[in-house]
């Protein structure tokens, strides 16, 4: 019973953390139409940033500044924002392919950097992070439950913030630019500036998710920032429904459950010689889910509710 409970908390924590990242992507893709092919770079920047700023000093590693936890978490978000600012500044004025390629590139470069740079932990990653307030709790289970509440609170706050944001004039502007850039421009709006703001904001939210993820495991390594994570986060958004924050969260829990369940089923029931290929089989399955969704239900399971005009919104 305790085992089931602690697994449920574990599952819900990871799914909630991923939900935050998916919400960040939804701001970029769903609301603004920006293709971010390198979610892991921003997720990873937040994760590494948090552990470097808040961790204890270690031989040969950069950082270990032992900053208070919330400041370290915030610092990780800032680092993710800076990476987004550089990439966005260079690509957002150009046609959309450039952003897709450059963000994909930044993810490859990020993984390559943390894998090779010894001061960032190299292939072993950064270990030995002291999780905040760990001493206050007797058992690991109680601590994990409390951490889950913390993550859930941040998820709800992020959700409310984004709901407010997209209902605000700024959110209307984002949709206007997504739907018709020229028309928005003719009204005196600057699409590239607005897009850059949305891109950075979305990436900062991904950085928050990364920071929480690293805190939860008290560890981060290049294995955690592989391109497959970008793909999973995208799958969650597409299945849930781009443009709809509720859909984004539902999609995350659904895909993460399907992913863990398929991994468990393959390791449990598949013959031994197939086990080596578990990853490949899962990747093919998730690939088919994505392509199938895009072909048959591109709006996702929970489509965006398009508000055509103010008066139409009032009538509903």
């Amino acid at each position: 019973m305790i085992g089931v409970l602690s697994y449920l908390i574990f599952f819900a924590t990871v799914a909630s953390i991923l939900s935050i990242a998916v919400l960040g992507l939804n701001l970029q893709w769903g609301n603004t139409g920006l293709f971010n092919g390198g979610v892991v770079a921003f997720f990873g920047a937040g994760a590494y940033g948090t552990l470097i700023l808040g961790g204890i000093p270690q031989d040969g590693l950069i950082g270990g500044f032992q900053l208070p936890y919330l400041i370290a978490l915030f610092g990780g978000m800032v680092i993710a924002g800076i990476v987004a600012w550089v990439v966005g500044l260079l690509t957002l004025r150009l046609r959309h392919d450039y952003l897709a390629i450059a963000t994909f590139g930044v993810a490859v470069a990020f993984e390559n950097l943390v894998r090779n740079a010894a001061i960032l932990g190299g292939a072993q990653g950064i270990r030995g992070f002291e999780r905040p307030l760990r001493d206050l709790f007797e058992s690991a289970l109680a601590y994990n439950a409390a951490f889950f509440v913390f993550v859930l609170t941040l998820l709800i706050l992020t959700y409310l913030f984004l709901e407010r944001l997209i209902a605000s004039p700024f959110g209307r502007l984002l949709r206007a630019i997504r739907e018709d850039e020229t028309a928005a421009q003719s009204l005196g709006k600057s699409p590239s500036r607005v897009r850059l703001t949305a891109f950075i904001a979305g990436s900062v939210i991904m950085g928050l998710a990364g920071g929480l993820y690293a805190t939860f495991y008290a560890f981060i390594s290049p294995q955690d920032v592989l391109p497959i994570l970008t793909f999973q986060i995208w799958a969650m958004l597409i299945v849930g429904g781009a443009g709809n924050n509720k859909g984004a969260v539902m999609g995350t829990f659904l895909i993460w459950a399907a992913w863990t369940a398929s991994g468990w089923a393959l390791s449990r029931f598949a013959p031994l010689e197939v086990q080596l290929y578990t990853g490949s089989i899962q990747f093919v399955l998730i690939g088919f889910v994505i392509v199938g969704m895009l072909m048959w239900r591109p709006q996702g399971l929970f489509p965006e509710k398009l508000v055509v005009s103010q008066s139409a919104a009032a009538k509903r």
């Binding site: 046609r95 959309h96 390629i101 470069a109 290929y277 089989i281 994505i290 392509v291 591109p298």
Partner: protein
């Protein structure tokens, strides 16, 4: 240093072949196709299968040509593979991209291509295993061209470079001397006007996939010949090939050729100053540099 330059040219010729097809498809269908590099893997593995088949059917042709490790069987298999890969590219377009195009915007296509890449790469891994394979188990020794400065070249590498240049020259002739070439350039410049002039747009799209797939297959075989074949070949080459198209300017075929060589050279020269572990990140630095200095590439045109 000189070794890096020579290696850079060799890698560059492979990247160029891959980038030509990518830049054409990106220009015509207006989406960054992340699955293009997987066509190199498809081509490399298709050639592997037909090489084994031809060698078994006609053992005579399983003899190495001159000093190369390349056999007549593999040469024949490469040609078959180019056709098969071209047809697979058309099939993928019919099955996936065409439907997504009809359903949604251009940007869904980018993500669909992510999914297609994931499916192809992992199915290849499931069929052929995750370990690298080689076309020939025979060891072909590199020839010492000069000792001072030290330069090693394998006969296969020289052949690859020459063959790639010949293929590009043939493509140049087709583009500049045939009606098809004119139509292609017309469609690239102004699709509506081209259609009014009686050019069938859908047929051009099919031909672009066929050519792009064929060139990618050749690139894949050449990569396998000078390195090794593995299921993540496409994953490793996707960024350098994208970098080549951006350096050349998206849509420019000659730009893609030049871009391929530039990226190949720059990546190898970067190894002079950087530890080799960082080489996968170099294409990204090249992309950033181009975006800062000349956002539309060497031959690209400004287009929203």
């Amino acid at each position: 240093m000189i070794q890096n330059i020579v290696d850079g040219f060799l890698v560059g010729s492979i990247l160029s072949l891959g980038a030509i097809g990518l830049t054409m498809a990106m220009h015509m269908l207006r989406f960054a196709n992340f699955s293009h590099a997987e066509l190199l893997s498809v081509g490399a593995y298709a050639a592997l299968v037909f090489d084994a088949l031809f060698s078994a059917l006609l053992p005579v042709i399983d003899a190495a040509i001159g000093p190369l490790s390349l056999t007549w069987a593999l040469t024949l298999a490469t040609l078959v593979s180019m056709v098969i890969t071209g047809l697979s590219a058309i099939l993928i377009d019919k099955l996936v991209f065409k439907r997504v195009r009809a359903k949604g915007g251009e940007l869904s296509m980018v993500f669909a291509s992510f999914g297609v890449a994931m499916i192809i790469r992992n199915i290849l891994g499931l069929i052929f295993g995750l370990d690298p394979v080689l076309y020939s188990q025979e060891i072909v020794f590199a020839i010492v061209v000069s000792r001072e400065p030290f330069l090693l070249v394998k006969p296969d590498q020289v052949f690859t470079l020459i063959a790639a240049l010949v293929i590009m020259f043939i493509l140049h002739l087709v583009l500049s001397r045939t009606t098809f070439g004119y139509s292609l350039r017309a469609v690239a410049e102004n699709p509506t006007l081209a259609q009014v002039s009686g050019i069938n747009l859908n047929r051009m799209i099919v031909l672009i996939w066929l050519i792009g797939g064929g060139l990618a297959a050749a690139a894949g075989v050449f990569y396998g010949l000078t390195n090794q074949i593995n299921p993540v070949l496409g994953r490793d080459l996707v960024l350098p090939i994208f970098a080549a198209t951006i350096v050349g300017g998206i849509g420019s075929i000659y730009g893609a050729v030049l871009g391929g060589f530039l990226v190949g050279l720059a990546s190898n020269l970067a190894l002079v100053i950087l530890p080799s572990g960082y080489s996968p990140a170099v294409p990204f630095l090249i992309i950033l540099a181009v975006l800062v200095i000349r956002p539309h590439g060497l031959f690209g045109e400004e287009r929203a």
